[in-house]
């Protein structure tokens, strides 16, 4: 009986963690794509906001009736922002930290401004859950893992698999990683450093924007100011935790998501701890996702300190370093 209770609580935790982490999975994947070619885009918070607000505008003002189209519009808007960012840091070679923060600040400000008149408007154009069929409706494990909308499967399975294959099993992927590790060598070998940085920066921004679109088209589903609520920063942390590997991103994001849903689960089930009864527990648990993320960042470094991690899993060597052919 006790075991069954724990089992159920754990499953419901996972079931609610999966949609809660999807935003982070997408943003972190977009971020990873840029970082692998040496561009650190710290503006994830802004990209999520822009992707979200343009999806909301699409369904509320432009009469878009398909969530896929709305998401695409959000992605294009985020890609445009990512393009501006890429021009500033790749072509002009401005500080990636400063421009990234500018994108975070400006993107959040802009999206809040654009969303002003749409606060709290319920979104009805939503992604539908994939129903695996009556035979599977037994609750438990099946319910936890197989009743999500298609975006979840794309974010958790298809996209990481595709990225992994391209990055680690194709020549193009090797060139791409070379640009992030040693751009001068890649350049000498005939790979366009600026070109691949621009392309993957914009593509990454679009995927991060898809995260924002997912928030308003499935997760929340409504617009509210500061929609990302720190998820963009968590995504950046998740990439570090994942040591720049696509499937580890999924694991890191789920860790964050389960902390988020721990809060909701605790409230729903009326849990309490000896020192933290009632509302105090809720306040405490709301700090937990960010604390857990902080600890997660320290994990690879701690592993390296203990000699558990080889050097090959460190950050791309040219991360956040502008490349100029003339100065090599």
């Amino acid at each position: 009986m006790m075991l069954a209770l724990i089992d159920n609580a754990f499953l419901s935790l996972i079931a609610s963690a999966i949609p809660a982490s999807t935003v982070v999975v997408l943003a972190a994947t977009g971020c990873l794509l840029g970082e692998r070619v040496g561009v650190l885009n710290m503006g994830q918070e802004g990209l999520i906001g822009i992707g979200a607000v343009y999806s909301v505008i699409a369904v509320t003002s432009w009469n878009v009736t398909s969530p896929w189209t709305a998401m695409l519009i959000g992605m294009v808007a985020a890609a445009v922002a990512g393009f501006v960012f890429a021009i500033a840091v790749v072509v002009v070679r401005a500080s990636q930290v400063l421009v990234g923060l500018a994108l975070a600040l400006g993107g959040v400000g802009l999206s809040n401004q654009l969303g002003t008149n749409r606060n709290g408007t319920p979104i009805t154009t939503l992604f539908r859950e994939v129903d695996p069929g009556g035979a599977f409706q037994t609750g438990g494990v099946v319910e936890a893992f197989f009743f999500h909308d298609p975006v979840v499967y794309i974010a958790y399975v298809a996209l990481p698999a595709l990225l992994w294959f391209v990055m680690f099993r194709t020549r193009h992927g090797m060139n791409m990683r070379a640009v992030g590790e040693n751009p001068a060598a890649a350049d000498a070998a005939g790979v366009s450093v600026m070109g691949s940085r621009l392309v993957y920066c914009v593509l990454g921004a679009a995927i991060s924007g898809a995260g924002g679109a997912y928030m308003v088209l499935s997760f929340t589903p409504t617009w509210s100011p500061d929609i990302a609520r720190g998820r963009g920063w968590v995504a950046l942390a998740v990439v570090i935790f994942a040591v720049w590997k696509p499937f580890w991103v999924v694991a890191g994001a789920l860790l964050y998501g389960s902390m988020i849903s721990l809060d909701a689960t605790a409230q729903a089930r009326g849990w309490s701890l000896p020192f933290l009864g009632g509302s105090d527990l809720g306040f405490f648990l709301s700090m937990l996702p960010f604390l857990a993320t902080l600890v997660a960042i320290l994990v690879p470094a701690a592993a390296a300190q203990l000699g558990l991690r080889s050097r090959s899993t460190a950050a791309p060597a040219a991360l956040a370093v502008p490349y100029s052919r003339e100065e090599r």
Binding site: L98, L101, L105, W233, S279, S286, L298
Partner: protein, 342 residues
Amino acid sequence: MRVLGAVVALLASGLALLLSGRNPIGLGIDALDAVFGSRRGIEGTALRALPILMTALGVALALRIKVWNIGSDGQFLMGAFAAVGVGIHLSGPGWFVLIVMALAATLAGAVWILVPALARAYWDVNEIITTLLLNFVAVQLVTWAALGFWRDTGAAVIQSTEQVPVVLASLPGTQSLTIALLVPIAIAAALAWVFRSSKWGYEVDIVGGNPKAGVFAGINVRRRILVVMLISGSIAGLGGMLQLSAPGAQALSSGFSAQFGLAGFIVAALAGGSFRGVIVAGFFIASMFFAGLVLQTKGLSVFIIFAIYGVILTGIAIGEVAARYRLVRTDVAPPRPGGVPA
């Protein structure tokens, strides 16, 4: 060049406002009038300048050793948190309580950056994200204090902690300012002196310029990074106490910091590690912030101010590149008489 970049960015923002059907010149005049047209405007700007200056000084100090402290907002909040904790529980003469509050806030700011600082100094963990994540934790903790364990149960409407009974003396000749405003100016002067005249400041600059050179010069680079980050956090923490001990601001609520840390970050980036520059840039950004508050009545929202912050920061970053831009002539070996390159 950084300043030029910021100015160009401001003009670009004005253009964007124009394109969205607003009148930027009218708004600009309104803004100038709001800030400089009245005593209230000037004092209002100075009031906002205090937290921005304190966080900016912390960030600017860390920038000298090439560390990005983006968690100054959290350190500021934790300083205020510690100050409230002391202020509502400690009884004694006013000056004594204020001193203990200031010490507690300074310590709290340092404690809040301790883990990122240790991780950065000894494990080489990037400090940008670790410091920033703690901002969110600080906001939640302050919210918890305001709605939970230190909640003012007497006030039913305003959800905040109890009020601290003591305030700092007011600045002579002003209505709403306290002597707290002198603190950032004193700290800026002290830091400017440290970096101009002391061995410690010189060594920090060496480490900031080239950590390897620091190691070869026999400087304990890791400890320098740790100490600089702790001081950076404590300045922001003290800022939280100073902000809290002004008349009318004596309680802590979840909205206590209007992203002052981010504004402070922009100020430090604009000043580029110059402490005198921080004071000038701080008042400039504070006047923008105050103008934004006033202009809300004219249909301009505070969100636009943040969007403009973003544009300004981009302008600063591009200005920095422009400042470094040089045409460098590299000698190419002249072609040999035979025409065959070596």
